[in-house]
Symmetry: C2
Subunit: 351 residues, 2 copies
Amino acid sequence: MTRKPDFTVSCPLPVADYPEITMAHGGGGKLTQELVEKIFVRVFDNPELSRRHDGAVLAFDGARVAFTTDTYVVQPIEFPGGDIGTLAVNGTVNDLAMCGAVPSYLSAGFVIEEGFSIERLWRIACSIREAADRAGVTIVTGDTKVVDHGKGDGLFINTAGVGAVADGVDIGPHRVSPGDAVIVSGDLGRHGIAVMSVREGLQFETSIESDSAPLGEPVASLLSSSADVHCMRDLTRGGLAAPLIEIAEVAGVEIGIRERSIPVGDAVRGACEILGLDPLYVANEGRFVCFVAPRDADRALAALRSHAQARDAVQIGTVESSGRGLVKLDTGLGPARVVDMPSGEQLPRIC
Amino acid sequence: MTRKPDFTVSCPLPVADYPEITMAHGGGGKLTQELVEKIFVRVFDNPELSRRHDGAVLAFDGARVAFTTDTYVVQPIEFPGGDIGTLAVNGTVNDLAMCGAVPSYLSAGFVIEEGFSIERLWRIACSIREAADRAGVTIVTGDTKVVDHGKGDGLFINTAGVGAVADGVDIGPHRVSPGDAVIVSGDLGRHGIAVMSVREGLQFETSIESDSAPLGEPVASLLSSSADVHCMRDLTRGGLAAPLIEIAEVAGVEIGIRERSIPVGDAVRGACEILGLDPLYVANEGRFVCFVAPRDADRALAALRSHAQARDAVQIGTVESSGRGLVKLDTGLGPARVVDMPSGEQLPRIC
């Protein structure tokens, strides 16, 4: 009755190198990419998954519906500027927005550790509701599971999301072409530093709050600005570096970015120096990068800057040529250097 | 910018009774129901969630799309007749089928504990693919997170699912009415006993395998049989008892079932006696109950029995009257007894 798939023969990962999952497999960098590509994309093998976008766009009776999911395992679960509930809403809303969809409905699946405080769960449920109201989405279905004390970590939340994609919208790495302007929607690194500061017990002169926020509105303005938007990607656990490299590889293009154009606040820059981190690799939860046709850069920037969430949007570079998929950083000091995929070990469980 | 919801004032659960989450809050019984209703349904507050169905049915540009989610935390993650991957596909496929949808697309979100074997992950990915092929669905989007050793339990998997609902299909507890025939699709309790037998290291004379299976095909036959199907519900962690009671409460009806009609295999019955379990409360993963208009019971049974998955379908009772929502069991010995909601403590982490 069931056809045994051919791929069950053997596991293709170099088991000798990594026989077991390491924290870096979840860091959004090189090892995450390897795990996803060599196991999940290969075994599940279908065109939607192979596009390596933030979600799938599905056809239903003439309607086009975007569908996406993320699980949130951030530690600590409450941090300056948000909590695991805020992330669980905004993260999935933003993945829908990156597909060019109008974020509309979310599911919520809770994995709660035995002994977790019911008042704290209530507080996080309220925070989910607040974030959902702000993003204009409704939690329409859900699930609750409990695991034994010592077999979880307080609370994990999965959200999946669906939203309609308008006719004619076609967003994805496949559309990125030489000449495209590369724009980021605001300053980088605040989410990662906000979470790390609590985890490491660090105090900075200025308090740094997570940038966690829904991106539906600035994206809607961008799409209705008549700028030709080729690709969008929200910047999460791999910082700016990982998604740029992934897009460069999938699209087969060389992307050039200028270090001096990349917006990083003084407080985040200072914290990165203390912690030995590069802001290019630090996580965000309310920022995205977009690729627009060369002639439309100013129009796109104007549309984005009309929203509080993207008022500091700025062009940071250009798609320079087709060819080898890579990202080059012009530091202003000597020749441009190739940006490496993060190892994924620096900032575990940041979302 | 953000309206602070009124309900943030205080947590409505009797915190004095349960200040913390217990294993029973995840058992699918009384405490799960209380947690879901008093926290999630109340805080998220919307008509779709209040229907308390297995999923939401959403309108997109003329198309109707069912949307549902479940997280799987079963322990052990491999057991006779399946593994966590089989469950993660079939469970969500079945929730879509219960909405009257054609199961089509799934997401998959993995929470992997540091140190988990990569070969084992590969094996489970293959098992997901096999189950997806069998159920006719595609895994179109996903997410991978890693948590520290000792902060997870090997592997948790969330799946969400979407599928189209045909015009005119209206399935849910709101349609259950006096006179409806109550039908179950096959023998009960195999999944719960299969998992418990591994967990407790029990050997039975006959090996008992999980009934985990996709229900899309028998449901499609049922819906195209022209029987008027009012409600369907797959029988999972609360056994037969919990969903029947929940439907009786939401619909405001009294349901009568006959103990002698409820199909339970000899091996499961024997195992239940040894373990001190009531088959009414034991988990299933490939069985469902349906409510059909009185005149259509035979037609529904014939449609179901044409599939291997439901060849033992049988009517087990009737919706007797409107009024207090409760379920009565005719044991054949003296007056019928009221079926209690399971406490949820008996069979933790069964799915």
